[in-house]
């Protein structure tokens, strides 16, 4: 059975066609590229662009797959979490598309999608549960225990910024523009990661919750706000000329702190669960330093191709294969959700 999926939770308008066995027939991603001048994704602008692009992206996915809607057995769309206005465009369109053909419909959790990217048939092969999955992007950072293909258990998540957000904010402080994660990595390549001692995203107690430093350090939660503040103070202390000289060291040390935090949590999660298999998803998976550190961890590490790590609809289609789809007309009243699990 062929699955047609739509993903529109942030600023990428995506559609994909995936076979029941996980073979990707088409994976179309239209990155809006209009948000850099605003220094971040603007929800209203993202929503407008989704609506302009959605028809074309879906038609292109069907064309690339060489299929028509009559060949589709299941329509899927991201239901949340994400920007509500953006989600509503893809989700409403997908419901309409499915309804008029009386097709089954699968509302898919975006994070389950990132996990399910590992179940697609690719050159690296499929990666089967059980495994630990680190999902790190500009929108979310969490570590999950994946026991079966149908779901996952969250072992830890970020208490403040996402890892990708920390990269972008650090890049902005270093004058690298938005989105600056890749630019920060390039700058860091010429710097000394040990030049500055930044807190490794796990040393800050959970604010106001009475959980001490040590207890937090043992937990699997992430925190990047303290790191961001530390960089800000360093940058302020330095004169313009010092900053110009030391920027590569600052970038390298800052990047090392983020990666240290991610790696430490992965190691801890593997230890706690007794697993030796780790999968990584999200845009941060493209970071070279993270990949180097992952490779030297001693665990079996699976990182899907970059196009399947960043937001895409193939991963949504993949997840849809393992969730219970709704028959017509049960899905007609479904709404999206911004955070957490669906209310109903």
């Amino acid at each position: 059975m062929n699955v047609l999926a739509i993903e529109s939770s942030c600023d990428d308008t995506c559609a994909a066609v995936v076979q029941g066995d996980g073979q990707v027939l088409a994976n179309v991603i239209s990155s809006q590229g209009v948000h850099s001048r605003f220094g971040g994704v603007v929800p209203e602008i993202a929503s407008r662009h989704h609506l302009e692009l959605i028809d074309l992206v879906v038609l292109q996915a069907l064309a690339e797959a060489g299929l028509s809607l009559d060949d589709i057995g299941l329509v899927a769309a991201t239901r949340g979490p994400g920007l509500v206005g953006a989600l509503l465009v893809g989700f409403s369109y997908a419901k309409g598309l499915a309804a008029a053909h009386r097709l089954a419909f699968a509302p898919v959790d975006h994070l389950q999608g990132h996990v399910a990217a590992n179940f697609l048939r690719t050159e690296q092969g499929q990666f089967e549960p059980p495994f630990i999955c680190l999902i790190a992007s500009g929108g979310h950072t969490l570590i999950a225990h994946v026991r079966e293909r149908e779901g996952f258990e969250v072992l830890g998540r970020t208490l403040d910024d996402a890892a990708g957000e920390a990269f972008d904010k650090g890049a902005r402080m270093l004058g690298l523009g938005y989105p600056g994660g890749a630019a920060l990595e390039r700058l860091a390549a010429g710097g000394d990661p040990a030049a500055f001692d930044f807190p490794a995203g796990g040393a800050r107690p959970r604010a106001g919750m009475g959980v001490g430093r040590i207890e937090f350090a043992r937990s699997l939660d992430f925190s990047f706000a303290g790191l961001k503040t530390a960089l800000l103070y360093r940058v302020r202390e330095l004169s313009e000329s010092e900053l110009a000289t030391l920027a590569p060291d600052l970038a390298a040390s800052y990047q090392a702190a983020i990666v240290d935090s991610l790696i430490a949590r992965c190691e801890q999660a593997l230890k706690v669960t007794g697993l030796e298999r780790l999968a990584v998803g999200g845009g941060v998976a493209a970071n070279g330093e993270l990949r180097r550190r992952l490779a030297s961890m001693g665990a079996t590490v699976h990182v899907p191709a970059p196009i399947l790590c960043t937001d895409n609809a193939a991963m949504i289609a993949s997840a849809a294969r393992f969730c219970s789809a709704l028959a017509y007309p049960a899905y007609l009243p479904l709404d999206v959700y911004a955070t957490g699990e669906s209310a109903a």
Partner: protein, 237 residues
């Protein structure tokens, strides 16, 4: 022609089904004050209900019509996205029609002899307004403060379409700013009047008069740019 028409420009969700014999079926959802609009959850169930009532299937439809606003941005996108999904699925023409015109059309149809000022609440102390008479559109839709409405109407010189018109204002914008309108001598029906509500039947019927353009994607008529763009332009001087 069998037409399904939907409108989500206001907090209400309106659906209409125009049948081959020219009759229409309608369904709508009006959230209570303060309640979240039901666009995402009510639109398709209402459409499904109308089809069932008419004994039709989705593939009985020959055209899809959608109110493109102006109105609430998210609401409009839910309506347009849903309509485009349906139209794409059925390989049908999708026609976008003005939600303001749908309001005006109803008032004229129900016997208003002068001109109709259709006004949708645009929040931020403004309305989206458009003017129609039996002869057609009087001025293009715009977002404006109710206080500026008088200027718009008065600044039309003698002999213009605006002279000697009896104005009737309809829509949730007319209800919200009733005193402004009435202060200008513009009549506003009672709050409970059905003339204030956009109806699916009018969306369907307006779509009959429009040539459809399959190459021209139907998009909302926002009438306002995103705040972030305006702010960015302001910062740049």
């Amino acid at each position: 022609m069998i037409v399904l028409g939907v409108d989500t420009a206001t907090p209400a969700t309106a659906v209409g089904l125009l049948l081959a014999d020219g009759s229409t079926l309608e369904a709508h959802d009006h959230p209570a004050p303060g309640e979240r609009p039901g666009h995402a959850t009510r639109l398709l169930p209402l459409a499904d209900r109308l089809l069932t009532e008419a004994g039709l299937q989705w593939d009985s439809l020959q055209r899809i019509a959608v109110g493109v606003g102006p109105g609430t941005f998210t609401g409009l996108r839910i309506g347009v996205a849903t309509a485009r999904g349906l139209a794409q699925s059925l390989s049908l023409d999708l026609v976008g029609v003005s939600s303001l015109q749908a309001l005006a059309r109803r008032a004229l149809k129900e016997g208003q002899r002068g001109s109709v000022l259709a006004a949708i609440d645009a929040r931020r102390g403004e309305v989206f307004a458009g003017g129609w008479s039996a002869a057609g559109e009087l001025f293009t839709a715009r977002a404006l403060a109710p206080d500026d409405l008088g200027d718009l109407l008065e600044h039309q010189g003698p002999g213009s379409a605006f002279e000697h018109h009896n104005w009737l204002a309809v829509g949730d914008g007319a209800i919200r700013f009733r005193s402004h309108f009435e202060g200008r001598g513009i009549e506003v029906p009672s709050d409970a009047s059905p003339l204030h509500r956009i109806r699916g039947a009018d969306i369907c019927e307006l779509a009959l008069d429009v040539e459809s353009h399959r190459t021209d994607p139907v998009l909302p008529d926002y009438l306002r740019r995103p705040d972030a763009e305006i702010a960015l332009q302001g910062a740049a001087g």
